[in-house]
């Protein structure tokens, strides 16, 4: 009797482990829209961390740096962040006022997130791009982050069914043969037949370029993952691997019928 109880307990514990491992982590940086016009010049921009498809949030500490790049000039926005609840966990938000035309690249460098289930730290450099007042220049410029995805498809004004093309940079150089995870910010719209369907995975070619066709409207996140060339001391004092992510979020609009 005792033995069967302990077996059951062990079974339960084992059953819980793969469940937590199947989910992909994503740094998230989501504006209200990725094109602003003069009728809506202020946008809420939300920063959070979690599993976008399943909608499971994770607490995000106040990031190390959150900034916007306009024509190569960077403005720090970290001070304007206030905590909000996103996917039932702590995220951050700010109201950003667009003052002039331009392609605004928002980027966040988070604090490393300790993931006990994987025994690693996760640090996702996350970007999103907003075009204001008809500007169409400069969306493909890299920001010089430790790692980042540079879009080769214009990252706004796209429809669902279009193919995202991007280049992964690590230390400014193309990251060949590396894995890119893709998830839809599902917000409860779809259910996945298996855990594998929650995250799509592609690899970059020798130039660090990947392609992925987004079959549904919504916010799509692309996360290129690499282990850092450094470690950080974990809660137990031992050196832990740091997973660096280059994440880019873009919106695919639905096709609209003529009214």
């Amino acid at each position: 009797m005792k033995k069967s109880l302990s077996t059951l307990l062990l079974g339960l514990i084992l059953a819980m482990i793969p469940g937590s491992n199947a989910l992909a982590h994503f740094g998230m940086l989501i504006p209200e829209k990725n094109i602003v016009d003069q009728h809506q010049r202020t946008e809420k921009i939300t920063l959070c961390f979690g599993h976008p498809f399943t909608g499971i949030g994770l607490n995000m500490e106040k990031p190390t740096r959150f900034f916007v790049d306009l024509n190569g000039r960077q403005t720090d926005l970290t001070g304007g962040l206030h905590p909000v609840q996103v996917m039932k966990r702590q995220g951050w938000q700010t109201d950003f006022h667009f003052r002039r035309p331009g392609v605004y690249i928002f980027a966040v460098e988070p604090k490393p997130y300790w993931e006990p289930a994987e025994d690693i730290y996760i640090k996702h450099y996350t970007k999103t791009i907003v075009a204001a007042f008809g500007a169409d220049h400069g969306w493909g410029r890299p920001l010089g982050l430790k790692t980042e995805i540079v879009p080769l498809l214009r990252p706004y004004g796209n429809y669902s069914g279009m193919t995202m093309v991007g280049q992964v940079l690590l230390d400014g150089k193309p990251a060949a043969n590396s894995e890119v995870e893709v998830e839809l910010y599902n917000q409860g719209r779809f259910t996945a037949p298996t855990a594998a369907h929650e995250t799509q995975v592609i690899r970059t070619d020798e130039r660090g370029i990947f392609i992925f066709t987004c079959p549904q409207p919504g916010w799509w996140g692309f996360a290129a993952l690499h282990d850092a060339d450094f470690t950080l001391p974990g809660p137990d004092g031992a050196d832990k691997t740091v997973e660096l992510g280059a994440v880019l979020w873009l919106y695919m609009d639905p096709w609209q019928s003529v009214p």
């Binding site: 016009d37 003069q38 202020t42 106040k62 206030h82 905590p83 909000v84 109201d95 006022h97 003052r99 002039r100 035309p101 007042f133 008809g134 500007a135 169409d136 220049h137």
Partner: protein, 208 residues
Amino acid sequence: MNRCRFLPLDKLFPTILLLCIFFAPAPAFAHHLYVFAYVSGGDIVVQASFGHNRPDVGGEVSVKSGAGKLLFQGKTDGRGMLRFPRPQLPPNETVKITVSGGAGHQGVWTMTPADLGNDSAATEVPAESKSAIQPAHHSSPPALSEEEQKYLARLVSDAVAREIEPLKAMMARQMDSGPSLRNIIGGIGWLVGIGGLAAAWASRKKQR
């Protein structure tokens, strides 16, 4: 275009212009004309471009008040820009700037009172934060519905969370940086204890 030759173009022109104005807000043309304007010192500066860094050179600019009064007319320069003195307007007045680039290209930019520096409208302050800042002047609490109470509670908790955030960060920093007071006191306790044990050991040796 050939068909147009057989039509009375001069008579149709107002209709075409009207259609252009109607469809201008919808950015449906690949060759759209984008207009932007801002205040620079005592002037208003207008920029007009077709995108791809191509300026609208010699574009006809017409500036009207929100009430429809014509305030200024001019043409953009070689960089697609035009500068003119900021008109004197009542505080809540808007300014509508229309630029036409020929062949049916037209763009509009409306400057709000905030854009014009007439901040009495205070459009820059989001409604949410305004309601959070405004102190309650009621001496007795007004009767609130359950929903309003919940809303108020959320506003207050949001505001408190925002205010204590720097404190939380400071506490987190203090926890991270070196030994805390408790660690130090604990350490002293250990030292005293070990010292006491050593003294007891020594005195026992002496007694023997």
